[in-house]
């Protein structure tokens, strides 16, 4: 009822095209130790929830009954009840957890431990570390394939994607990418792995079957020096046609055709754009802007920025709750 009510209020203000259906975007504020919860219908912050120190990675389990938060400087992964905002317990995470992925079966959390050059695998039910895998220096990006068979960790200083077989929990391949890889995602068909390189300024697309480079996406923006174009987080539309790629201090999101790997357009957002999340119906995209301390709402169809929403200091991660 509350959401319906806010929806009605939103309409009269409404220069906004077609408000999205109700849902929430959860944004971690790295330097405030909070989460800002944005209502996707009203586009307002409706709750602010305290977390451990320096929250970064954030993800929900498949039925959205739990939210996991990397509290990097508390050296813990916090498990929260999203309804109450209460931290239920912590998971052993290894030192300085930055990003993670939850396996599709919701059983294992794969955590990049940035200060420790390891990937930690935690059984979320038993609350135990199952394995620790040595990877390159400053692991950050984490991806899991849709079938749950492969996990990839990228390491920022070693400049590699480490391919891990989830059955054996061993590295099966290491592939070089450009400088300072930040984020990795498998396409939903499992055929491609995309890795962004912040300092290299590129996104590398791998063919998963051969683990070989299939394409390299480069960016060019009028009026912005190449060395400030630093791709970090990205998201794919569920139909697998379009990728939205955050370009960091270039303050833009690139829209990329996933078949041709060509950039179609660039959308101006806030300063130092980090990560992205779609509204539940995928009609809107929310970007965390680290330096400007806000979130930009982008209309996916028209590819236009609709609104900036003030959140906490240094917003970093974003996750969707229907």
């Amino acid at each position: 009822m509350r959401r319906l009510h806010s929806f009605l209020i939103a309409l009269p203000i409404g220069a906004l095209p077609l408000a999205a259906t109700a849902g929430e975007i959860w944004v971690t504020n790295e330097k405030d130790a909070t989460i800002s919860v944005i209502d996707t219908a009203t586009l307002e912050v409706v709750r602010t929830i305290a977390t451990g120190e320096r929250p970064r990675g954030i993800t929900f389990n498949s039925d959205h009954s739990r939210v996991y938060i990397c509290a990097s400087d508390s050296d813990a992964v916090e498990v929260m009840d999203p309804a109450s905002g209460e931290i239920l317990h912590e998971l052993p995470s290894g030192e300085d957890p930055e990003q993670f992925v939850l396996a599709p079966d919701d059983k294992h959390l794969w955590i990049a431990n940035e200060d420790d050059a390891v990937t930690t695998v935690v059984d979320v039910d038993a609350r135990e570390v199952v394995a620790q895998i040595n990877v390159g220096i400053e692991p950050e990006g984490m991806a899991v394939s849709a079938d749950g068979k492969l996990v990839v960790t990228t390491s920022e200083t070693t400049n590699m994607a480490h391919w891990i077989d989830t059955a054996t929990m061993k590295i099966v391949a290491n592939t070089l990418v450009d400088s300072r890889p930040r984020h990795a995602e498998f396409t939903s068909d499992g055929k491609e792995l995309w890795v962004s390189s912040e300092i290299g300024g590129t996104v590398t697309v791998f063919d998963v079957a051969t683990r070989s480079e299939k394409a390299k996406i480069r960016f060019a923006l009028t009026g912005v020096r190449d060395d400030l174009i630093q791709p970090v987080g990205f998201e794919f539309t569920p139909d697998g046609t379009t990728a939205f790629i955050a370009l960091g201090p270039a303050n833009h999101v690139a829209v990329v055709d996933m078949k041709t790997f060509e950039v179609e357009t660039y959308i101006l957002v806030g300063r130092r754009v980090w990560h992205l999340a779609f509204s539940p119906d995928h009609s809107q995209l929310f970007t965390t802007n680290g330096i400007s301390g806000d979130v930009t709402v982008v209309d996916v169809a028209s590819r236009e920025a609709l609104k900036s929403i003030k959140v906490g200091r240094f917003p970093w991660g974003a996750a969707t709750r229907p």
Binding site: T158, N159, V172, I199, L228
Partner: protein
């Protein structure tokens, strides 16, 4: 006989376990490197608070080695670093000859004339030498050498970073106190040139002549010493040995900030950097060295990382091929300062953002917005192509 202390860092056997996994185009490459330091007797200074660490620079090189070995362990690339520290007055060129016979990659932390003596050795022909210690302009200018790169910023880059900030703040009325040592005079000259380049005025200068113990007397002497200076926004201090500048701040006749060798200062690195992933590098350094990372440690770290990055990308230990790649458009080093680092093709200087800091925080990372350049804004700091008399790079 020169006293030569040798320390050998073993390539990390622990990492060998990692190498078991398949990687791209594995080819065994072994890279032998030497870090050569000419120890210089530090002048006596008033304060005992900040001694110069014995492993200054060396600790940065060792961390650069370990960062590089991790990548190498996945690729079948093996690195060895021998550290040679020559006592004050010892024979650096003899040590350099021995080093070059064993390894064609050499990092040199020594005064400018010694760096040149090493680069001009017959054994150094075709070698890859990186200057990690001398900021003197002449090594990037008429006295440049084709086999010599520089990761330590030119002194002018430090001074010009500061002047960009003063100009942007419109704090353009300055005065300067110059210390008694030759390096103070040299840095004062660099500050003067940087001030002229960025439109900052130095309205008056005074020579520092005190030989009293300022730990007791600063509050009495410095106000009088600074009383006759004309009205100014900022007081510049040229005190490269870190001797007296700390006693000038907050003891001046007028309430003005200090800049230059103390207070607000430009440098290649500082312990207060935390953005752009810098906190990770600081943490790794502090846990290994048990102290904060200083600019010379950073210069040594970037030197190691430069060689490591080149070996990683082109799979060879051939110094001439490495040099060609390092100077090419394909080279981009992550230096934890927010932009990819590369080398100036006209004099071999590492092109890098320059932090301007105080004791507690990063104030600005230069180049600042608005200082434009036809090729790369970072080239607004230091010797640019049209100004450099260097011809050894054939560019």
């Amino acid at each position: 006989m020169p006293k030569i202390r040798v320390k050998r860092t073993m390539s990390a056997c622990l990492l060998a376990a990692l190498a078991g996994a398949a990687g791209p185009a594995r080819a065994d490459v072994t890279v032998a490197m030497t870090y050569l330091r000419q120890e210089v007797k530090a002048p006596p200074v008033l304060s005992n608070l900040d001694p110069v660490p014995e492993d200054l620079g060396i600790a940065g090189a060792e961390l650069g080695l370990s960062d590089t070995e991790t990548t190498g362990s996945f690729l079948g690339h093996h690195y060895g670093l021998k550290v040679v520290s020559v006592a004050p007055g010892g024979d650096l060129t003899a040590a350099a000859r021995a080093a070059l016979a064993a390894s064609p990659v050499l990092f040199v932390d020594a005064p400018a004339e010694s760096v040149l003596a090493v680069a001009d050795l017959p054994e150094a022909k075709g070698a890859l030498i990186v200057n990690v210690g001398s900021g003197e302009r002449r090594l990037r200018d008429a006295d440049c050498r084709g086999n010599l790169l520089h990761t330590i910023p030119e002194d002018a880059m430090r001074a010009e970073a500061l002047m960009q900030v003063l100009r942007a703040r419109r704090w353009t009325r300055t005065v300067m106190i110059v210390g008694p040592r030759p390096e103070d005079a040299a840095f004062a000259a660099t500050l003067r040139a940087a001030a002229a380049k960025f439109g900052v005025d130095i309205l008056a200068e005074k020579a520092w002549t005190f030989d009293t113990d300022l730990r007791r007397m600063a509050s009495k002497e410095v106000p009088l010493f600074t009383q006759d200076l004309p009205e100014h926004d900022v007081l510049l201090v040229a005190d490269e040995a870190d001797d007296f500048a700390r006693y000038v701040a907050n003891n001046t006749w007028l309430a003005r900030p200090i800049a230059g060798s103390d207070g607000l200062r430009g440098d290649g690195w500082a312990p207060v950097l935390e953005q752009w992933g810098a906190v990770q590098l600081q943490n790794r350094f502090e846990s290994a060295a048990k102290r904060e990372m200083r600019p010379r440690d950073y210069a040594a770290w970037t030197a190691l990382r430069t060689v490591g990055e080149a070996v990683t990308r082109i799979n060879t230990a051939d110094p001439e091929k490495l040099r060609a790649f390092i100077l090419s458009d394909g080279f981009a080093l992550d230096g934890f300062k927010g932009r990819p680092l590369s080398y100036r093709r006209w004099n071999g200087q590492l092109r890098q953002p320059m932090p301007v800091v105080n004791a507690r925080a990063l104030v600005e990372l230069t180049p600042l917005d608005g200082y434009l350049h036809p090729q790369n804004e970072m080239d607004t700091l230091g010797l640019d192509r049209p100004e450099s008399a260097c011809t050894a790079f054939g560019d």
